[in-house]
């Protein structure tokens, strides 16, 4: 558990970067600090491993005041990932990953073993081990950055916009891989981003900071979207927050209609419906076709691929999006193995949304207790 207690950072010129910040980052959870530039989020992060010293207040790690700890020891016990990965260009991937174990004086063989294990853990091929960072793509470098931070198995990880320098597709892959990894490791993570979507996707708890380093609100993402405390937070979480909050609402049982399908390669002649769903031989949906415009066997290039596919176990947001994006207006729903289970129409999803409760105080996540005033919470 990381606890900020009345932490203030004022620079010699008088600028206040962080103002009387109090919050707790619970053990094993991801706490995201989000806000516009100048809100002191990076400064707050760097005060945790004392790259920056606070002017006032205390930061404690599992109850221990960090200002009394040896700086280098403290840092070696905290994983740190930064925007451009900050890899050492003169060291191979393997040596980069082994940095902290080497500083801690581990045995060479153990370092190499541990580094290789971590590379596979973050999804990098073993043959990349002997490359230099400049030979990797941005996404691969970022994965090495995460592996390096994890090397000595620190209980705490600090991540400063780690995924913002890569393109959106890679970013999403990295985010998913990161969540999966966190699911296995359960580190105490403080994550900084300026991207509210990323904050909402990754955070167990989201702290919104305003310019001048003032905490505007801290709560779980669903509650944040449903109950922003003021105009600043409301503006910051965005105009389509109503739609986005759907992603935290698990789908109740959807009223699925069975869908007439053809397997790719078969003919659609004689089918009267305006749109027909095409599946592969394992009954996984591929796309829609208009039988009236086709004759003979359906080829992959005939498919209309505009529709998204939602999982029955996913969120209401996914189900609604599948319906809205489908050319037939029927949203394609699959099970967890990707097999078609049926289709759903937008108005049916909307009915479910209307009958569901908005997240309210009672549903606010357990670790945001006493966080409803947005400023303070008691440690549990």
């Amino acid at each position: 558990m990381i606890r900020f207690d009345g932490v203030t950072k004022q620079y010699p010129g008088g600028t206040v970067a962080v103002d009387d910040l109090t919050f707790t980052a619970p053990t094993g959870k991801i706490t995201v600090l989000v806000g516009p530039s100048g809100c002191g989020k990076t400064t707050s992060l760097r005060m945790i491993n004392r790259m920056i010293e606070p002017t006032k207040g205390t930061i404690s790690l599992d109850g221990q005041d960090t200002s009394r700890m040896n700086e280098a020891d403290l840092r070696r016990g905290i994983g740190y990932v930064i925007q451009h990965a900050g890899l050492f260009p003169h060291r191979t991937v393997l040596d980069n990953v082994g940095t902290v174990p080497r500083l801690l004086g581990w045995d060479k063989k153990k370092i190499a073993e541990r580094s290789r294990e971590l590379l596979s853990r973050v999804g990098l091929a073993p043959e990349l081990a002997d490359r230099y960072p400049s030979q990797l793509s941005g996404g691969q470098q970022q994965r090495v950055g995460v592996a390096r931070a994890l090397a000595a198995d620190p209980p705490v990880m600090l991540m400063d916009e780690p995924f913002s320098a890569v393109d959106p597709v890679v970013r999403e892959q990295l985010q998913d891989a990161f969540l999966e990894l966190q699911g296995e490791l359960g580190k105490t993570i403080v994550f900084v981003t300026h991207d509210i979507d990323e904050a909402i996707k990754l955070g167990d708890q989201v702290a919104v900071l305003r310019v001048g380093g003032i905490l505007a609100q801290i709560s779980d993402p669903a509650y944040l979207l449903a109950h922003p405390v003021d105009d600043f937070v409301a503006d910051f979480v965005g105009k389509d927050r109503g739609y986005r909050s759907l992603q935290f609402q698990p789908t109740p049982r959807l009223p699925l209609a069975s869908e007439r399908t053809v397997v790719v390669g078969e003919t659609v002649d004689g089918i009267g419906a305006p749109w027909v769903l095409v599946v592969d031989d394992q009954h996984r949906p591929l796309g829609w076709v208009e039988p009236s415009r086709l004759s003979g066997a359906v080829a992959p290039e005939d498919l209309h691929r505009g529709g998204t596919v939602a999982r029955a176990s996913g969120s209401l947001r996914g189900a609604l999006d599948a319906a809205l994006s489908s050319p037939s207006r029927r949203g394609v729903i699959v099970d967890d193995s990707g097999e078609l289970v049926g289709t759903v129409r937008a108005h049916q999803v909307l009915e479910l949304i209307e009958s569901a409760d908005r997240p309210d105080e009672d549903l606010a996540d357990s670790f945001a207790e006493a966080g409803s005033d947005g400023r303070r919470e008691d440690s549990s």
Partner: protein, 218 residues
């Protein structure tokens, strides 16, 4: 050419002492410039002071410095140590700036990462900063090497023997071949120094020679 053929032995002897007189100061100068350059980078107020001071040192005429050395050091007039010390001064003058600039060329995010990992003091300097500054420092070292080879020849005027003797002696005795041999030998020596430093740089920076290294960095 007959002069050269008759004097191979002399040329080699002079070349050998030329190598020592230019080479030892290069190594010593680098060793002194490293902490000074580090200090210039570490304390930003020191940077202009050290850079101007070292620039000023380089403007002292070499002959003057050679002549002054026995007075400052208390050495004998013909002692080659005078030349070594004077050449070291010139090398330091050239390299302080190079070292400081080389250290500033290390990307900030790499330094941040090093700090955050718990690197400190000497280990950070020798493990991260210095290796990454090698390309810039090597470039400065090549300039200093060529400059040393050329300036050392002036030492003939104070009686310390090296390839410069071929120039003064050839001039005194109107032997053109000897002058030409002296010039060629100096050029060859400068090229050898340059080549060795380049080789050393390549051995120390394997990461700069890997396939696809250019542009892949974000």
């Amino acid at each position: 050419m007959t002069w050269v053929n008759d004097h191979w032995g002399d040329i080699f002897t002079l070349a050998r002492s030329h190598v020592w007189l230019a080479g030892i100061p290069l190594v010593l100068g680098l060793l002194i410039a490293l902490p000074l350059g580090w200090a210039a980078r570490r304390w930003s107020r020191l940077y202009p002071v050290l850079i101007s001071a070292s620039g000023l040192l380089y403007t002292i005429p070499s002959l003057a410095l050679f002549v002054l050395m026995p007075i400052i050091l208390g050495t004998k007039v013909l002692d080659p140590v005078n030349v070594v010390v004077a050449m070291t001064v010139y090398t330091v003058a050239l390299l302080v700036r190079t070292v400081a600039d080389g250290l500033s060329s290390v990307p900030d995010h790499v330094l941040q990462a090093a700090r955050a990992m718990g690197y400190r003091g000497f280990r950070r300097f020798f493990g991260v900063e210095l290796p990454l500054a090698v390309p810039v420092i090597a470039a400065g070292l090549r300039v200093a090497a060529v400059s040393n080879v050329s300036i050392v020849s002036v030492a003939s005027l104070i009686g310390v023997a090296q390839l410069g003797n071929l120039l003064t002696d050839g001039y005194d005795r109107f032997i053109t071949a000897e002058i030409v041999a002296g010039i060629v030998a100096c050029v060859v020596l400068a090229l050898v120094f340059d080549g060795l430093i380049l080789l050393g740089q390549r051995l120390l920076t394997p990461w700069l020679r890997v396939r696809g290294a250019a542009g892949a960095r974000s």
